[in-house]
């Protein structure tokens, strides 16, 4: 039940885009049509779900203060948490590389449709941000962390598909010239954010 609650919360209330603005760059650049937006959304969801348990294990068994005590009791006082950033980004970058190779080998059609977005998600802040929030929230188990990663990914996917659909609809609207393109996208995202705030306080069970 707790997991389900966390899942819903990470989609609607702690939405990566509307509450924390993570992954904004690709959100703005790749939301011109729904199909590519969906592809990128799936790639990000997948990466978040895969890297979250790895980073969780890394944090719990290597980086935290005293985390190395399972190796030998003399290491109990070692605190490597300042290395967190560099370890997380290494996991994410190499994970992206691996996923890219695997997808290319086993499903060339998916690889072709994702194209350049796959390597780009290594520098998508939503994924590193997910890992950092996971560290901050201090989850009890790897399952909870994975659920959080999956939920955040779905939230990101919803947001980018939503904005892409709206941008397709307004393509022929008469917008003031200086606002065309990026400006109006910012305003729509802001309005969607205000709408998403109405989910605040949702709690299951």
């Amino acid at each position: 039940m707790e997991e389900l609650n966390l899942f819903v919360k990470s989609i609607f209330i702690d939405n990566m885009i509307f509450a924390y603005f993570l992954g904004m760059c690709s959100f703005l650049a790749v939301s011109k049509n729904v199909k590519t937006a969906l592809g990128l959304g799936i790639a990000v969801t997948f990466m978040l779900t895969v890297t979250m348990p790895i980073n969780y294990a890394l944090d719990k068994y290597v980086l935290q203060e005293g985390a190395l005590s399972w190796l030998s009791p003399s290491l109990a006082s070692v605190d490597l948490s300042f290395l967190g950033l560099i370890m997380f980004i290494a996991v994410i970058a190499s994970g992206t590389q691996l996923v890219e190779m695997a997808v290319e080998k086993f499903s060339p059609s998916l690889y072709a449709s994702l194209g350049i977005f796959l390597p780009l998600i290594a520098v998508n802040c939503a994924i590193l941000g997910g890992a950092l929030f996971m560290q901050q929230k201090d989850f009890g188990s790897a399952v909870t962390a994975t659920v959080y990663g999956f939920g955040s990914g779905i939230g990101w996917l919803l947001a980018i598909v939503g904005i892409a659909a709206i941008r397709e609809k307004i393509a022929y609207s008469n917008i003031p010239a200086p606002l065309r393109g990026v400006g109006i996208t910012f305003i729509i995202t802001g309005l969607m954010g205000i709408a998403f705030m109405s989910f605040l306080g949702i709690k299951l069970g």
């Binding site: 904004m24 760059c25 300042f82 950033l85 802040c125 590193l128 950092l132």
Partner: protein, 207 residues
């Protein structure tokens, strides 16, 4: 020292080629750290420092990096610099580092950094790269400060934490606009800045 090309590298990013308004890079942190001025300025300084030095380092080793692994090399250099900035902040300004929380760490994936490393530092000598880093960092910080100024003024009625809207305004029914502190208004503030900026620089408008 400051030839014409170097001057361009330093000053163009301030307005005509602004990383936030024109190149649309590094939006995440622009929006998230601008509730009030102090964290915005600290964030700006952190980004300027990391940008300038990562540009110099990458520019120094640009001829020895194999192109196939350059992204990883860049990420490692940037991550190491960010860790230094983070430890420095925790040691000397703990309150602000708590307010910025994960966003200092997220400088690593700030697209301005990767963008400038790829587009400039890989093909230029260290000194112009340093200036380019400073220029882009400044361009980014300016937007940060403008957004934070309006959000703090309208949202809390303060600037740098000092009350600037006098008490008699409140007595006559003025209210702080609570919406300004919430995340969505950051987007709309940036949209307004883009609007003004593009109205003045018509060549930037999209069709």
């Amino acid at each position: 020292m400051l030839s014409k090309k170097n001057k361009e590298a330093l000053f163009n990013p301030l307005s005509k080629d602004n990383p936030v308004l024109v190149q649309i890079l590094g939006i995440c942190s622009t929006l998230a750290v601008t509730v009030s001025l102090e964290p915005a300025i600290v964030m700006g300084i952190a980004v300027i420092t990391v940008m300038a030095f990562s540009n110099v380092i990458i520019s120094l080793i640009r001829n020895t990096i194999p192109t196939t692994i350059r992204i990883i090399v860049q990420l490692v250099v940037v991550a190491a610099l960010v860790i230094m900035v983070q430890q420095f902040l925790v040691a000397y300004n703990y309150d602000v580092s708590k307010q910025l929380s994960v966003f200092i760490g997220l400088i690593i994936t700030n697209c301005i950094l990767m963008g400038r490393l790829e587009a400039f530092a890989l093909n230029n000598k260290p000194w112009p790269s340093f200036l380019d880093g400073i220029g882009n960092g400044l361009g980014y910080s300016i937007i940060l400060v403008i957004v934070a100024f309006f959000r703090e003024l309208l949202g809390s009625g303060t600037i740098f934490g000092f009350q600037v809207i006098p008490q008699w305004c409140y007595d006559h029914g003025y209210e702080n606009n609570g919406l300004m502190i919430l995340p969505p208004m950051a987007l709309i503030t940036v949209a307004c800045i883009i609007w003004v900026h593009r109205a003045r620089n018509t060549e930037l408008q999209e069709n």
